[in-house]
Symmetry: C2
Subunit: 124 residues, 2 copies
């Protein structure tokens, strides 16, 4: 494990930059932000999640959930019922990501109008 | 301006979901996180930025800076010197994004080892 030294969190040395960037891209992804937000209320089935995450395709939700499961942020539980039932829920690690993502999502909601005004001005 | 009602920040209604998701994907992008972090110390020229953002290509840094400028987060100033000099600095809006991104980057640094352990276990 490399020592973090006194680098600012956003200025890691070159060696760790790639690894951090890879995780950042995953957790900063918009579908991840939405899925983590929705699952923070409790476990949910795939179909209910798809209804809750506006605009997500079946394929994109599948990929997002698999990525979250691989990263240890979401736990997938299959029940041997008829029809089969699969629940998704946040792990402890996933719950710890909730607050940072909420803060980011709040920034977006607060500043959405300003960003959209800037884009219109830039595109003129 | 649509009213925010009482929706949680990560659960906007379907109408605004796409617009928010679009901005989220931009500000959660790893290069954006790194560039905003580095520019938070003050204005910087392109070449200095490229040295500071480990692993970024000329093209990707150009695209990232243009996106940040379009979003109103970064201001580009060209000086009529020989050779020409171009500075990039955070706008007031860009500065307001610094803290949310630092919190996210801190989560990544703190939990990097846990995520990498989860990935290894999943891939086995």
């Amino acid at each position: 494990m490399p020592s973090a030294k006194t680098n600012a969190p956003h200025k890691p040395d070159a060696e760790t930059c790639k690894a951090l960037g890879n995780i950042l891209d995953r957790v900063g992804d918009k579908w991840t932000v939405m899925v983590v937000g929705i699952l923070s209320d409790g476990p949910m089935r795939f179909n209910a999640l798809q209804r809750a995450v506006a605009g997500v395709s079946h394929r994109m939700l599948t990929l997002t959930l698999r990525g979250l499961e691989r990263d240890g942020l979401v736990k997938r539980t299959a029940f041997a019922t008829v029809p089969p039932r699969v629940d998704y829920e946040l792990t402890k690690l996933g719950h710890s990501l909730k607050s940072p993502l909420e803060i980011l999502a709040e920034w977006v909601q607060t500043n959405r109008a300003a960003v959209e005004r800037a884009r219109k001005a830039f595109d003129r």
